[in-house]
């Protein structure tokens, strides 16, 4: 540091904040942050088991009536099917495009690589309302509003940057000598990619696939504008319910979505370090 006077001076706040209290204070702060992160989710899960017709916390009694209500509602079931179908469509799309792109961006060298890399991640950095409005207007022109292909493409766009990033982490750690060894032993380019490269990229691909699944399952900012009466996904139905009433069945559906994400995350953690992918 150039400024030695400032380094030598004892800062005023160190007298306000004694060193021996620091570790305890840090842990207390961390605990509060974790509590802050969990609080709305805990409240939601608890109120979904409420016996009364209002969303209350702490809940009065325990019942699964709101879950049974959701499962016997045709509207909710149609939405669950649609959300499931979208995951099945979005994940392979995103994994295919994302894996090829991540490999090409990491190992390739061609003009415009940096710009393409930035472009690939830009849907993540674009304020959501702009992506949503852009797709709304664009899809209007080509008749994709309120259609399954429209939602498929929109969800793929939102999920793609996560997959590209996740696979790039794996691709960056890839040892090129392994591919060269396979090539020198006579394997062609396609064979090397399929039998050597792909298995080595697997942790990133799994992380990318599950991030894509979770993104599609929870997406609502863009969905709210490009979906319609025939394509109401689960989060979108939660959104329209939550805007007007506080019905515990919405808490029940949210809990189901939450449980699905946690399962996905625990499974992901088994295969890949999702933390590195983000």
């Amino acid at each position: 540091m150039a400024d030695t006077r400032r380094t030598a001076r004892t800062p005023a706040w160190s007298t306000l904040f004694p060193d021996r209290l620091a570790p305890a204070a840090g842990r207390l702060l961390a605990a509060l942050v974790f509590l802050f992160l969990l609080a709305p989710l805990v409240v939601l899960v608890a109120s979904s088991f409420n016996t009364t017709a209002s969303v209350a916390f702490p809940p009065q009694g325990f019942s699964t009536r709101w879950y049974r209500g959701v499962l016997s509602s045709p509207d909710w079931l149609v939405s669950f099917q649609l959300s499931g179908l979208l995951v099945v469509l979005v994940v392979p799309t995103v994994v295919l495009i994302g894996t090829l792109a991540a490999y090409g961006l990491t190992r390739g060298s061609f003009p415009g690589r940096g710009a393409l890399h930035a472009l690939a991640l830009s849907p993540l950095m674009t304020p959501e309302i702009i992506t949503a409005l852009g797709l709304l207007y664009y899809f209007h022109g080509i008749g994709l509003i309120d259609t399954i292909p429209g939602l498929w493409l929109a969800h793929s766009l939102i999920a793609l940057p996560y997959a590209v990033r996740a696979v790039m982490v794996s691709a960056a750690g890839l040892d090129p000598t392994l591919e060269r060894a396979a090539a020198s032993l006579g394997a062609g380019g396609v064979r090397v990619f399929l039998t050597v490269t792909l298995p080595l990229l697997r942790p990133g691909i799994v992380a990318g696939a599950l991030l894509a699944a979770v993104t599609s399952l929870g997406e609502v900012a863009v969905t709210a504008l490009v979906a319609g009466a025939h394509t109401t996904t689960v989060p979108l139905r939660v959104f329209s319910s939550a805007q007007f009433e506080l019905d515990p069945s919405v808490a029940a559906v949210s809990t189901v979505l939450l449980a699905a994400s946690v399962v996905v995350m625990v499974v992901t953690d088994k295969f890949a370090k999702i933390s590195e992918a983000l």
Binding site: L96, I97, P127, V220, F239, S254, S261, D269, L278
Partner: protein, 293 residues
């Protein structure tokens, strides 16, 4: 062999084939919609707000002269800055704890805690805040019980509720890169600081924080960009009257059907976002260069 023109050309374009699908996809679904939106923002409108052929800057003039729009832009920028600062400040204790923990059950649980909001639908998270902050919700009850409030307050439609819930929604985007940055710190440097007489507070402030700034900054940039355009959470928690650009855009297309002005407002928002994030990134690189140069 490697110096034949053909081989050189192949080296120059090595890996291009892999990025063709991505390029086509992004051109068709990201670049093209934005270009069309930009075009729309310059269209004149008739009495029923339908876009007409031709070009005009009328929509941009409206955005910069009508308080309904420009005050929302100012408020959005201030809110995004506030949320970003809150996220980075709150991320430090959480990320520090995560980075220090050895792998084990507790660390996994803490990680699930951090990621669970990120991997949960934004609607679900916002709905949780609606329950928490409701007239009969736990926050109101606690305030009344503690004597902070005489009677339950309207927390739900307040600006503070928007800031709190948006901070909650975006906090994981700050914690994750910061955890990576803190986990990658050289322990010897921290030990050196302690050996040379700096206490834990001073080591944290003068060694840990400066060294982890790249991680904090990359988290801050994502949080800021997302906070500029977020609309679902503020809409659910704060209501449609919050003067935020995302809500104004949503309002224009869902109630007034004035797409061109919504497009113009979006582009001004995007421009501010891009200017701020690139400016911040450049300022940081200058600072870093001076530090090491």
């Amino acid at each position: 062999m490697a110096h034949t023109p053909r081989a050189r050309r192949r080296t120059r374009w090595r890996g291009t084939a892999y990025v063709v699908p991505l390029s086509v996809f992004l051109l068709a679904l990201f670049v093209a919609p934005l270009v069309r939106l930009l075009q729309l923002s310059f269209r004149p409108v008739d009495e029923s707000n339908a876009a007409l052929p031709g070009y005009t800057v009328h929509q941009y003039v409206r955005v910069f002269t009508e308080p309904f729009f420009y005050e929302a832009l100012i408020r959005t920028l201030l809110t995004a800055v506030l949320v970003t600062v809150l996220c980075v400040v709150l991320a430090y204790p959480a990320a520090y704890t995560l980075a220090q923990r050895r792998p084990g059950l507790l660390r996994t649980l803490l990680f699930v805690t951090v990621l669970s909001p990120l991997l949960t639908s934004v609607v679900v998270r916002s709905y949780g805040w609606v329950v928490l902050l409701g007239a009969n919700g736990p926050v109101n009850r606690a305030f009344v019980a503690l004597g902070v409030l005489d009677q339950p307050a309207h927390l739900l439609t307040s600006y503070s509720a928007v800031v709190v819930s948006v901070t909650h929604v975006l906090l994981p985007f700050a914690i994750v890169p910061l955890t990576t940055a803190l986990g990658g710190l050289d322990r010897d440097v921290l030990r050196a600081s302690r050996v040379l007489g700096a206490g834990p507070v001073r080591t944290f402030a003068r060694v840990t924080v400066p060294l982890s700034l790249p991680g904090a900054l990359s988290g801050a940039l994502v949080v800021f960009a997302l906070a500029m355009g977020i609309y679902i959470t503020p809409l659910l928690v704060g209501g449609a009257n919050q003067p935020l650009a995302g809500i104004r855009v949503y309002d224009q297309i869902s109630t007034v059907f004035d797409y061109p002005v919504a497009a113009a407002l979006s582009f001004v928002l995007l421009l501010i976002t891009v200017l701020c994030t690139t400016g911040l990134g450049a300022a940081f690189r200058t600072w870093e260069g001076r530090l090491h140069g």
